[in-house]
Point group: C2
Chain length 361, copies 2
Amino acid sequence: MLRWEEPPEGPVLVLLDQTRLPSEEVELVCTDAPALVEAIRSLAVRGAPVLGIAGAYGVALAAARGFDVDEAAQALAGARPTAVNLSVGVRRARDAYHAAVARGEDAGQAAVAALAAARQLHREDAEASARMAEHGLALLDELLPGGGHRILTHCNTGALVSGGDGTAFAVALAAHHQGRLRRLWVDETRPLLQGARLTAYEAARNGMAYTLLTDNAAGSLFAAGEVDAVLIGADRIAADGSVANKVGSYPLAVLARYHHVPFIVVAPVTTVDLDTVDGASIEVEQRPGYEVTEVLAPQVQVSGAGGGIPVAPLGTQAYNPAFDVTPPELVTAIVTEEGAVSPVTAEGLAELCGKAGRARG
Amino acid sequence: MLRWEEPPEGPVLVLLDQTRLPSEEVELVCTDAPALVEAIRSLAVRGAPVLGIAGAYGVALAAARGFDVDEAAQALAGARPTAVNLSVGVRRARDAYHAAVARGEDAGQAAVAALAAARQLHREDAEASARMAEHGLALLDELLPGGGHRILTHCNTGALVSGGDGTAFAVALAAHHQGRLRRLWVDETRPLLQGARLTAYEAARNGMAYTLLTDNAAGSLFAAGEVDAVLIGADRIAADGSVANKVGSYPLAVLARYHHVPFIVVAPVTTVDLDTVDGASIEVEQRPGYEVTEVLAPQVQVSGAGGGIPVAPLGTQAYNPAFDVTPPELVTAIVTEEGAVSPVTAEGLAELCGKAGRARG
């Protein structure tokens, strides 16, 4: 959902503006790093892997247009300070630039090196998506012989947040391409409705059989036996296999366990943070209450403190954790580009991470 | 939230317009039955018990103003055909009117009889609320010795839908009045946001310590040990103790069980339908998809098919059950005005219903 282009006027980075979806498909054309910083700040581009790729291209853009590369890198990395992938991606392109300079290449050649690093990151991410999809689908077929998968997903984990087809969504899409997806159940994902706005958009674009539901209605689906597997992404995975993901994931894990339905987490190995010992060590971001007390609708002019339409009495306090944490005993499997861990154990995860480290090394 | 008044111009029924809450408190003054029919149709007045009371007052209003009572009764009962309480309330006032006529009273005296029947129903409902609150609080104190209750509730079960303080909400309010409510956690209750719009409004009006949350975030509260009990109402209770209530109730029951937290249903005995054998026999109403694909905001002019703001791609199909069904094994207790049943068994429920029948007979 982002691409590098080189029209005669000079190179640009083109992004799909996620804040306008699904009502409008608007592309943002960034001609310099400040424009990209603004796009990142306004959430026009969001989602862990894609932020890293965008950051790397941003550095390449600054270099190609002759701006100060370190200044651009600093501004880009600071656009969303808590997004680890963003600063990692920025660093990678910047390091490639400086390595070229150190080798005695000129600014133009160093810019080419930065772009090559961004493209490499983009390609790696797309390949990781493809491998996650492959491992995930193999696991589904093993757990659910006979196919015809009915998959419930939460939040948005598709191409909008990835260099490829994404994580959990990529598995569902692979099942769809092989004619084995019976239904993608899409949780709307309150409060920001990433399911309704983004996942439904991606499912529709890909011609998948999908149905939207309020997060509330998932229980009825389980009770009716309409869910074969839950597939979600992850924001961070602790060393013990605890999974931090969009709020609402944990209730799905409890429902899945109660109904003996597999609960599968799909995420790249970089999501595993071996320095975070367990679920209790994961700090959960509390977001502003107005995300709950107001409804955001980009196409409507509104009045609330958060720029939305107030739906609760003025002065109402809201509890609004961004994520929740699912303990490893409720997770059937963690699928990465290096393969799946099931059952989820600290040893299994550490082994996968070691494999990934060796592969990279 | 409704009252009979007799200004010099003639009697009226005054209702709080629920569709304008919480942004505006607007009272509707109904001077005849057609105005009340319109208020019922537009959901300005909604909720099982209050519909019955409104219907009875509507018949009394028609009688007092000299209109055809049977015609008014028919129009009122037909305003929402599936609302059982509405037709029961209408019938009660109409029967009182005809009984008076049969005793040889004139139209004016018969109108007084109809009004007396409506007032009696109103009073009975308020008394039932008070008794449910008393039994519910006693149960809470027994289950959670030491007090300081942190109660999670779903949907709207307070004075807006009752002749008194309501059902589940009335228990929380009683705890508040006795200084034993530490926190009322209010589920926003998608898709129609009755929690955000109505329960938060009632909690604020009563000065209760309350916090709003997305339905998704309840899992995090349970995991953090922040919920002492779940209290919900019921739309229908089957003979085996299965509880049909607003969608999202069942996931709370599963979470409550997983976290060993009491899950308590508060509802009048009339909610128990002994003719419905079990949960599987309860037909669940499927509501229009636009309640999910669009967000309703009464204060905003909008464009969607359902009169709301589209939040999902055009043509998105939605699964939108109005209710879900919680099996008796997940319900810690059913609290009625006649007392509590715990554990929930068909025998216990039948006994309560018998007691209520004898009390009425």
